[in-house]
């Protein structure tokens, strides 16, 4: 790496190689190339024009034309431009980037499961229905709740479903109520969800420990409060030790306690939301239960609730006959309706159940303990170089602030980018919003002591660089294929698809 008066430059050595300059598929296409072959048509060919008339497509979509090896190379080369859990620690707070077991991928592709059509007769679907039933049973046991739907496709979709249950219950009591209280430390999906469900969002200011201010809450909850949406442990990784009292305050006014289960990786096998007053919550199978994030999805966001909310669950729900046969029941007059076609992201159910089976009760508990152990180790090893805004005991994640580094003009986002040069994915930047300049670190249970020490060493080295060569940090990353990208230009004049006109000059 070279450093001069204008600061460090991109390494440069990575860019010229062919594998680093893979063009877009469309730029590589040549007419007449093929990567497919259909079997001979065993029925009479048809004349599309006469069958479809004016509905026939005249001009084909400009899809690329390539051979199989080019496609393999294209996507393999692209893949190498990604960081991944498989490459190293991915300490994104709140995202629970844990190891994704490969056996999960194998079993999700088992023939009778992967090829099952959602409308196949129940008699030919008993195997998958048993898988779904066992997963439901496990998730209810893990959360201490009474009823479940697996239909929601992701966490935010689960929130939507959960708040619909809240609303439906209030309606059944005569008044849907007007508002949802959300702490200022919450994920952005919480207020967005409340708004979609027709609720006014009321912010609740966190107390000096970053937790719920009981007095403020008691003053705020009234007969128009439908629910409090609470993340527990909170987004600063702290367990709300007053949780039972919080539930009491809400319940006394007829309001419900919704729990965002994003941080369930701190609790599995150690404590159950159903035992501490939560009425309804969602889980993220792609966080706690190891299904892969896949570059942004698919997720799965099951919702679990107490018995009094069961009548409102989305249709259909899984039921069992006296003879043990399982089938879907659609006859549920109080249901909030459907939130998705079919039954949910079933492929993710299979993976999550495989994870639970591989772990068993001891493995699940040890997983939680290791996740908490790792976060506390990082806290201990970094608290002398990064400011810890909240001294409360950490669970699965620890949140520092960039206060000490900001004095030198280096922000959390810069430190995050510099971490890339040390071979790690950045932590979560500038969230939660109650911490100015937050560094939100969630190591998960999947990191060995060696990897943790490397991460700690990297963070400490960066803290030192901030003191000695702040420019080096502020202009990071220096080792990546591309340097910092111009987001302003991207948003000002959006180019969202390839077209020959926007093809850049060949370099």
């Amino acid at each position: 790496m070279t450093t001069n008066a204008t600061g460090p430059r991109t390494l440069g050595k990575v860019r010229p190689h062919q594998t680093q300059n893979e063009a877009l598929l469309f730029e590589k296409s040549s007419p007449g190339k093929r990567a497919y072959m259909l079997p001979p048509l065993d029925v009479p060919a048809v004349d599309a024009a006469s069958l479809l008339g004016v509905a026939k497509r005249d001009q084909g979509a400009e899809l690329p034309e390539l051979s199989e090896i080019e496609i393999i190379r294209h996507f393999t080369r692209l893949s190498t431009w990604n960081y991944a859990i498989d490459l190293g620690m991915y300490p994104l707070g709140s995202c629970t980037m844990k190891y994704n077991p490969r056996v999960n991928e194998l079993v999700a592709r088992v023939e009778g499961l992967a090829e099952a059509h959602p409308y196949r007769p129940d008699s030919l679907a008993q195997g998958i229905l048993e898988v779904i039933d066992l997963l439901q049973h496990c998730l209810l046991e893990i959360t201490g709740m009474d009823a479940i739907t697996l239909q929601p496709a992701a966490g935010a979709h689960g929130e939507f479903t959960g708040i619909l249950l809240v609303r439906a219950w209030h309606e059944s009591q005569g008044n849907p109520r007007r508002k949802i209280i959300i702490p200022d430390s919450a994920h952005g999906t919480n207020p967005a969800t409340a708004a979609i469900c027709g609720y006014t969002v009321e912010n609740l200011k966190s107390n000096a420990e970053g937790g719920i201010d009981l007095e403020a809450l008691a003053a705020q909850v009234d007969s128009e409060t439908a629910a409090l949406m609470l993340t527990n442990p909170s987004t600063i990784g702290v367990f709300e030790s007053q949780i039972a009292r919080i539930a009491e305050i809400l319940h006394a006014k007829g309001a419900l306690l919704y729990m965002d289960g994003a941080n369930m990786n701190a609790l599995v096998g150690k404590a159950r939301p159903g035992d501490f007053g939560v009425d309804v919550m969602h889980l993220n199978l792609h966080k706690t239960f190891s299904t892969p994030h896949g570059g942004g999805g698919p997720g799965s966001g099951p919702v679990v609730c107490k018995a009094f909310l069961k009548p409102f669950l989305p249709i259909p729900v899984l039921v069992q006959d006296k003879d043990g046969a399982k089938h879907w029941n659609y006859d549920r007059p109080q249901s909030v309706g459907r939130v998705r076609a079919f039954y949910g992201n079933v492929g993710m159910f299979i993976r999550a159940l495989a994870y639970i089976l591989a772990n068993g009760p001891d493995g699940l508990r040890q997983t939680t303990e290791d996740a908490v152990l790792n976060a506390n180790y990082i806290r201990k090893k970094l608290e002398d170089v990064f400011e810890l805004p909240y001294k409360t005991a950490s669970m699965h994640e620890v949140v520092f602030s960039d206060k000490l580094q900001a004095a030198k003009g280096v922000k959390t986002g810069d430190i995050a980018k510099r971490l890339i040069d040390y071979g790690f994915h950045p932590y979560t930047v500038s969230f939660p919003m109650i911490v100015h300049g937050a560094l939100m670190i969630e190591p998960t249970e999947s990191e060995s002591l060696e990897e943790l020490d490397l991460f700690i060493e990297a963070m400490r080295a960066i803290a030192k660089e901030v003191d000695e060569t702040p420019e080096l940090v502020k202009t990071a990353p220096h080792s990546t294929r591309v340097s910092r990208l111009d987001e302003v230009q991207a948003a000002r004049k959006p180019i969202l698809r390839w077209a020959p006109a926007v093809r850049p000059n060949a370099r």
Binding site: R9, L52, V103, V110, L113, P121, L124, H187, G296, P314
Partner: protein
């Protein structure tokens, strides 16, 4: 414990470093009464081989080896092998949402390619990075039209997948947005244009149709668009059978297209994960839900890609966001992108032609059997058709199952007026022999008493 990379000694060492006497110290913050003082009652830990055995047994119990004529917004198409080879690369599989653009260019460029392909196929200007599925995509498209027009009513065709309509109703319930259902022409199975014209008012934000619709019939999109636009409403076209776009004219008159891309190389997997996507005319871009990838440059002028226009999204706008969606279906969108790369411009057309031919043969063969006739024969179809039988489906479907065939799905559960009608789908995966066997089994009705 095979996923946990620590020895007992290392755990002790870390505890000592932290200054904790035991792991329980770290959980002391949870009030004792709220701690679980026992093992979870879940199955014991299983060896990897046992995990595989469990799911293989479940797969067998599910039954395999059946030929299937089921469609209805979940389609069985051939999945090229390289899809799973590539999406199982750890760099794609175990990567997060590409917020850190410098180390996620692979995912970002692939999404940019996906957006381009979807825009090309649908005839729209722009497409997003994906939605959960076709049903939620359609519901979000209606909400988008509401924001664009400032109007609060929707007109929905009864021929949109019933479950999509149920999802839409759930989304709309707390958003004003009353919707009017418009029926279908009994001859063609297309939306009743006269009823549609009457239903659209100056308050209509959007008209939503599906094409091919739930009966497999291709709607007259230009005619529907003219009626919607005459009253200032947007037209949303939901497309559930994406392969149709290889041979069926794209809905270029639409303002928003909500596509279910499952047909592009995504396993049926008992209903999910699939891959919705919203495409639209460029002028509606800032009201789109979901993530968008845009092209830009880095500090050295190199082309690169970033997530962009995120001021629409929940992590920035919170309760004022266009949607609460966060996690989407990225890896499934990658499957679709690879599928479309394999088939390419010519392949997608050829594949669509094969579907057209199989369904045409199946429709002719099955409807030629005694007591059977083709319903809605007055309009063009793609790979699905509605068969009316004298015999109740429950009676003949068992005869087909005995021949290892799952026949069409009964429509009476959603459209009681259609009686014994069933919806059949014949993709390129169905063979002529299977169609002929199904026809024979269908014909083998018990002789009626004189």
């Amino acid at each position: 414990m095979r996923y946990l990379p620590k020895s007992p000694a290392e755990r002790k060492r870390i505890l000592a470093e932290i200054g904790a006497a035991s792991i329980d110290d770290l959980f002391a913050v949870i009030p004792a009464g709220n701690r679980l003082g026992r093992d979870l009652a879940v199955p014991r830990a299983h060896a990897e081989s046992e995990v595989i055995d469990y799911f293989r047994a479940a797969g067998k119990k599910n039954a395999t080896g059946y030929a299937s004529f089921l469609g209805a917004e979940a389609y069985r198409h051939y999945r090229p092998v390289i899809i799973d080879s590539l999406v199982q690369r750890g760099e794609f599989l175990t990567s997060y949402t590409p917020y850190q653009a410098e180390i996620t260019q692979g995912t970002l460029q692939a999404i940019f390619e996906f957006q381009t392909m979807i825009a090309e196929l649908t005839g729209m200007d722009v497409a997003n990075a994906s939605m959960y599925d076709g049903s939620t995509g359609a519901a979000e498209a209606v909400r988008m039209a509401m924001r664009v027009t400032g109007r609060e009513k929707a007109v929905v065709a009864a021929t949109v997948h019933p479950e999509y309509r149920e999802v839409m109703a759930t989304y709309a319930r707390h958003q004003e947005l009353p919707s009017t259902l418009v029926g279908y022409d009994p001859e063609t199975g297309r939306i009743d244009l006269a009823a549609l014209e009457a239903a659209i008012t100056q308050e209509t934000a959007a008209v939503l149709v599906q094409s091919p619709n739930f009966f497999g019939v291709i709607e007259d999109i230009p005619a529907v668009a003219a009626l919607a636009h005459a009253k200032g409403a947007l037209l949303i076209v939901s497309i559930a059978e994406a392969v149709s776009l290889g041979i069926v004219r794209p809905p270029v008159e639409a303002d928003i297209v909500s596509l279910e891309a499952q047909s592009f190389g995504v396993a049926l997997s008992y209903g999910g994960p699939y891959c919705g996507v919203i495409a639209a005319k460029e002028q509606f871009l800032r009201q789109m839900p979901g993530r968008l990838v845009g092209q830009t440059v880095d500090g050295n002028g190199n082309r690169g890609f970033v997530l962009t226009l995120s001021t629409r999204e929940q992590h920035i706008r919170r309760e004022k966001a266009t949607s609460n969606i966060c996690t989407n279906q990225a890896l499934v969108a990658l499957m679709a992108t690879i599928f479309l790369s394999v088939y390419g411009k010519e392949g997608i057309r050829e594949l669509a032609e094969h579907n057209l031919a199989k369904a045409d043969y199946a429709a002719k063969t099955l409807s030629a059997q005694p007591g059977a006739k083709l319903h809605f024969s007055g309009a063009p179809r793609f790979n699905e058709f509605v068969l009316q039988t004298r015999e109740a489906p429950a009676a003949w479907s068992q005869r087909l199952m005995d021949k290892m065939i799952v026949g069409g799905i009964g429509l009476a559960r959603w459209y009681p007026e259609l009686g014994n009608a069933t919806l059949w789908c014949a993709t390129e995966m169905v063979t002529r022999a299977q169609i002929d066997t199904a026809a024979k089994a269908l014909a083998a009705a018990p002789v009626e008493a004189p």
